[in-house]
Amino acid sequence: MYTQSFSVPDDTAGNTSGPKGVPAAASAAEAELQAAFDARIDQDGRIEPRDWMPAAYRKTLVRQISQHAHSEIVGMLPEGNWISRAPSLKRKAILIAKVQDEGGHGLYLYSAAETLGTSRAEMLEGLHSGKAKYSSIFNYPTLNWADMGVIGWLVDGAAIMNQIPLCRCSYGPYARAMVRVCKEESFHQRQGYEALLVLMQGTQAQREMVQDAVNRYWWKCLAMFGPPDADSPNSQQGMRWGIKRFTNDDLRQKFIDATVPQARVLGVTLPDPELKWNEERGHYDHGPIDWDEFWQVVNGHGPMNKERLATRVKAHEQGAWVREAAAAHAAKQQQRQLKEAA
């Protein structure tokens, strides 16, 4: 399960917020509702689908949750690539289970977003047309088997850092989806790390393969947490709303601090000459992240953006007959029942 710990603007703000059921309140009444909403957030309370919420809160959630869902769905692709090439039946079974989990996580999240009044079809349309964003980490290729291990260890590891605080998000359905996701996520990280441990006990070429994968993914994983706090104007609002609990930089730091000892046990180095323990801060310092590259990829110019989207759209189109057949079957059954009843 994966997410960027920030939600980037989608290409067009096509989604108008607000379900049909909510009447346009007069401004005085609206102010009162806003005050009640703020009070509930201040008490660390939860907002449920039919509760009043500010339009901007709804819109932010729809964008963040749908981007999160899209990331799960697109996240199946780089790993799905390796199912047929997994080195053993055991690893193949594990990888299938993981990819299936990602599909499930996408569904939990789409369902949560739908409670905000956005249809599944609208969200899929956003993804398939390229308007909606997903985690940029999936726009890089998975070149060798060690990439599968590194995705589990580092990419899922970064996602977990991000997702655990989301279990306490102010929006109930999102928080509940995240609880379910986090329960399953630990398997993802551990299987990846263990696959790498096995490789590290192999030949020199296998160890080099692991190091190469770590070198390629390390910086991209750090970027997954989103831009530095200073360049992340929406973070404050997200925190005010109880959607975000930690800043991008705080989460990134937690991830680095947790990962350095794991790398040591594994026997790999992390590709950052400036990475060192800072006694005074009680944290690891790290070198600068290439944000230009990050934004390039977010904006559609990564090595795999086109291919990922094309694969996703193709799968959707090729599945059309299944969806139609199921609907036709259901309609036929329904007619048969009506006839029997008549």
């Binding site: 449920e48 039919r50 009043w52 249809s119 609907a327 079957h329 259901a330 329904q334």
Partner: protein
């Protein structure tokens, strides 16, 4: 007699899972499916991959009637001043023991 047109989008179903024999079914999420058999199959794949359940219910979401959050005070507040409905309201001498 009117028949429904072929479904364009699969309808939404709410999923309830009994985690263990002897426990109640609990709401765990929702999904889109073409009919009830399909919804059960999908619910199994999505919500019970790790033996989370021994029984599943699926209910078309549109059939659920729900209380209005705006009526919360009207519906639930009257119970808050009826503390005599709780066992702790009553003082019983210690020598009576557990009651």
């Amino acid at each position: 007699m009117s028949t429904q047109p072929a479904l364009k989008d699969w309808p939404l179903w709410e999923v309830f899972v009994r985690s263990k024999q002897g426990l109640e079914h609990k709401h765990c999420g929702s999904l889109h499916a073409s009919d009830s058999a399909h919804a059960l199959q999908m619910a199994r794949d999505v919500y019970t991959r790790r033996q989370e359940g021994v029984s599943i219910w699926v209910v078309p979401s549109h059939l659920i009637a729900a209380s209005d959050p705006e009526d919360k005070a009207l519906m639930f507040d009257p119970a808050s001043d009826k503390i005599y409905r709780h066992p702790t309201f009553y003082e019983i001498p210690d020598e009576v023991g557990h009651m």
